[in-house]
Symmetry: C2
């Protein structure tokens, strides 16, 4: 007997038939003696349909009204799921974000959750009701509808689980768990039984798109155990949880990669205090996220400054940097969009030496040149030529013993 | 400079193109210096789509969840219209029923409006915002979404107009006003410039489906002037308002007809006190609306009792009445579904004699037998054989001088 929060994504509730399947699974969980709170997304395709309507009616939809519009997507799903459960003989009740309420700031289309009173849901659970909540949406202090941005339903689920101090937050998705790396690249990739919040954050931010990053941050902050699993069968998925002793014994948990960045070098920069600040301030002002930054050792008072930015921002960055480079007397600016960042991740890393060395020698054995390196407590990232991405991921996966035993 | 409430039905907002047209018309009204509050229905077809989803997911949808589901229809329209107005450079703001709030009782799918605080809308109007409200929906004391039943958007509009003490409530529909009778039956039917609440109620309840009855009752109670007109051109429509001296001079304002009733006779009923009550109590308990009731003059202590009920309830009524007729010693029960009720309506009637006589002789001249008669202050209804409906309407329309001058 536990308090279980379950979240079903758009694919899991994508048709009437699938909504019935979800109701069946929810009912089973309830019949096992659990209290159940369900969070659902819009039926797959529905949000896109609504966004298309908005774009048809005008070029730049008001953000407040955009949220009023797209919030109908989840509203349809909660009503259908709740009436389906009721028709099966269960007591069920749907809640909009504004009814729970999920209180957010007023940043429409990308609102952040501020608080979730648990009184109403607790009262329903006490009366043995199954509670069905709309994900993705909230309400601000003025009573206006807000939404959390794409993928926000994961965050809704974890936040509601945190507010209720749920025993587990099950996130049902179209993959059956978190893998050591993308199985499309490494067929021998293994599903992980568990992974720490920190590792999951690195995996997510590096391109493994299983969970929305904010939901993992939320789970870490409030210590919510997330169970990532599929709604299409009953297998256990992956637990995302606080680091434990067992995790420590594993050197590397997963390999992530990201082809979405570009590398920019400012060459022959005068090696003086304040120069880096001069280069990066305009990027900050333009709201461009700089990821890795490397400054080579200075020779003859000149140095090369290299950094990565999202590929989509590359042109804009060059426009900002090139006149600046001239002004500060740099030799020039070069850019490369054919790069890829490959990372090994593991909480065991910080208590073991030699992991970096093993990564570098593994890549070197395959003739893969490392263009940039950055490290954190639980991660080592190397920038390599984009064409080597899959090869690098494969050899690292094998070298660190992540391949599934046959 | 006035406070104008405008209501646009599903057809008027049935496509993106039409929503743009509505926005244009709203903007024109605003540009003329008026404060404007707009009430909209769901885009035509949308409510049916949602109801089909509910019926797909289960046979008997929970009423609470049904309301959560169908309320999304108007939510989509208010967002689209408000964002369209904003993109045209106007300040606009959408309101759900729960945000205004339109407070109703908890009778889901057929809720009745209890009160509408005007504070929020007034504040927006003071800041020169165009306010866009979802029709058809409200919220009960528990914060649950309710809906007013099909056609409820008319009632929303009139109720909001009453709450704001608006100068006029314009109801845009797919006909351009209220006609002396159905123009499909009488091509010479004339659009009325104005009609009293009482006449409109008789017209509506007798089958002229321009306005929802409840909206007219509401308008009468709070003295709201309704302007029924079309959104497809700029012509004046029909004002529904308090009776004035001019209306008094018109004997008959319109001819209504209704083919939806059936006639039932209980024959040879012992003429004793309490018998009628015995016959009608089971119908009341079964929630069946009895319309006309006629008891013939008694002969030899026996009488015939005839009444009309909705055609759809006819079978059920016979099942209830037949055993009862035996028990009270009646001779038998007969029924006739091939009937029609034709009515002449006019506030001028109550101060003029001879109107009934003119009606009867007009019908008689055409050989139309009158099977039942009932009268009120402003209406005379005759039940005739269904096949004479159109003929009866046509000759009465001409006899009372309602035909359009060529």
């Amino acid at each position: 007997m536990a308090l279980v929060v379950q979240k079903y994504g758009g694919t899991s509730v994508g048709s009437i038939e699938r909504i019935r399947n979800v109701a069946q699974r929810v009912a089973e969980t309830f019949d096992q003696g659990n209290d159940v709170v369900v969070i659902v997304s819009a039926m797959s395709g529905e949000t896109n349909r609504l966004v298309a309507l908005a774009n048809d009616v005008c070029e730049f939809p008001s953000e407040r009204e955009y949220d009023v519009l797209v919030a109908t997507g989840e509203q349809v799903t909660i009503a259908l799921l709740a009436m389906c459960l009721e028709s099966m003989g269960y007591k069920a009740k749907s809640y909009l974000g504004s009814q729970i309420p999920v209180i957010t700031d007023s940043a429409h289309a990308k609102a952040r959750i501020q608080s979730i009173p648990d009184t109403k849901i607790r009262a329903d659970l006490a009366e043995k009701r199954i509670v069905v909540c709309a994900g993705f949406q909230g309400v601000d202090e003025f009573g206006d509808i807000t939404t959390l941005g794409r993928g926000g339903s994961d965050t809704s689920a974890v936040a509601i689980a945190a507010a209720l101090k749920a025993d587990v937050c099950e996130i049902y998705t179209d993959v059956d768990g978190v893998y050591t790396t993308d199985p499309r690249v490494v067929p021998a990739a293994r599903k992980l039984d568990k992974i720490s919040y920190e590792e999951m954050l690195e995996m997510a931010s590096l391109g493994a798109k299983v969970l929305q990053i904010r939901s993992v941050e939320f789970a870490k902050k409030y210590n919510v155990v997330i169970h990532v699993r599929t709604s299409f069968d009953n297998r256990q998925g992956t637990l995302v949880m606080k680091e434990d002793a067992e995790m420590e014994t594993v050197l590397v948990s997963g390999i992530a990669f990201n082809k979405d960045e570009a590398k920019i070098s400012v060459l022959g920069v005068p090696d003086q205090p304040g120069i880096a600040a001069q280069i990066f301030s305009p990027l900050t002002e333009a709201n461009i996220t700089v990821d890795m930054i490397i400054q080579n050792v200075s020779s003859d008072g000149k140095t090369d400054l290299t950094f990565t930015v999202p590929k989509t921002d590359c042109k804009k960055v060059l426009q900002l940097i090139e006149p600046l480079a001239q002004k500060i007397g740099a030799r020039g600016v070069s850019s490369d969009t054919a790069i890829s960042k490959v990372s090994i991740i593991g909480v065991g890393m910080h208590s073991h030496a030699g992991v970096a060395g093993q990564m570098f020698s593994t890549l070197s054995r395959e003739g893969i040149n490392i263009e940039m390196i950055s490290t954190s407590e639980i991660k080592i990232s190397c920038v390599v030529n984009e064409k080597y991405t899959e090869l690098a991921v494969r050899v690292l996966h094998e070298a660190f013993g992540l391949d599934r035993a046959e």
